[in-house]
Symmetry: C2
Subunit: 151 residues, 2 copies
């Protein structure tokens, strides 16, 4: 037994990660709302950036990578397209496929989102001792990678 086993529910990492994660995500969502975005819109921008490095990805591939239904990608892409943040064009090689790509405006929007998230990070972590903060971020990065998130 690696970890102590008679720990209170509220003292488990699972419980705390669930609550803290949803609170932090809520604060990020509040900031995004002022830009007319939901968290998953920001996620789609990030996924496009990480998948394509400037190229384009089909909606189905995006759905698989995000772990959401293809129908949700349609709605997310509709909205981002209406904001001018992503372009959508038919793949000439297979006209069933819609290729999504970040526009310059989309890149700028993604950077705004990152700046907002950085602001949340500062409020959350800035008062911690630097060593603790570094270790926490390193472990969190490892856990995120284990969940399949892009580095």
């Amino acid at each position: 037994m690696l970890l102590v086993n008679d720990v209170k529910l509220t003292a488990t990492a699972a419980f705390r990660l669930g609550v803290v994660g949803s609170r932090v995500a809520g604060r990020f969502a509040d900031l995004l709302a002022e830009r007319d975005l939901k968290t998953k819109h920001a996620g789609l921008l990030a996924v496009l950036d990480s998948m394509t490095a400037g190229g384009a990805a089909s909606q189905l591939d995006v759905a698989k990578l995000m772990g959401v239904a293809p129908s949700l990608v349609v709605a997310l892409a509709d909205h981002l397209e209406s904001l001018g943040a992503v372009s959508r064009e038919r793949d000439p090689a297979d006209r069933r496929r819609q290729l999504l790509a970040l526009t310059p405006a989309g890149r700028a929007l993604l950077e705004e989102c990152a700046a907002l998230a950085n602001g949340v990070d500062e409020d959350l972590l800035a008062h911690l001792p630097r060593k603790d903060r570094d270790t926490f971020l390193r472990v969190l990065a490892r856990l995120a990678a284990a969940e399949g998130l892009p580095a």
Copy 2:
């Protein structure tokens, strides 16, 4: 500026905590589902345990502490009462108030939930170096306390 500012969205703590938190909460929820419980049922059991130390709390107080609508507490308590995990009785001093209390079966159920969460913790953290794990858990506890969670 305490933290570096040109960090990718997917590399922020806010983004990672949101995703990791919801994935981990999902795994916990899957385990709870086999016991006919949702995450918030477990949360209510934990809140009762932490608030009352054996006594009883009104539904409104519970709702405030959990940060949910009073109407949700009604539904959660209905279900837990049907499982025999909580008792509900009118406060003799103020007959508007329903006093919720953990039954012995409720205490046992809470401990089962804690054991399930501990299992999730082990899968998540057991492979980390002990020092990293300790620091991560200590920082997470601090973040949880800052969000108002009971220790």
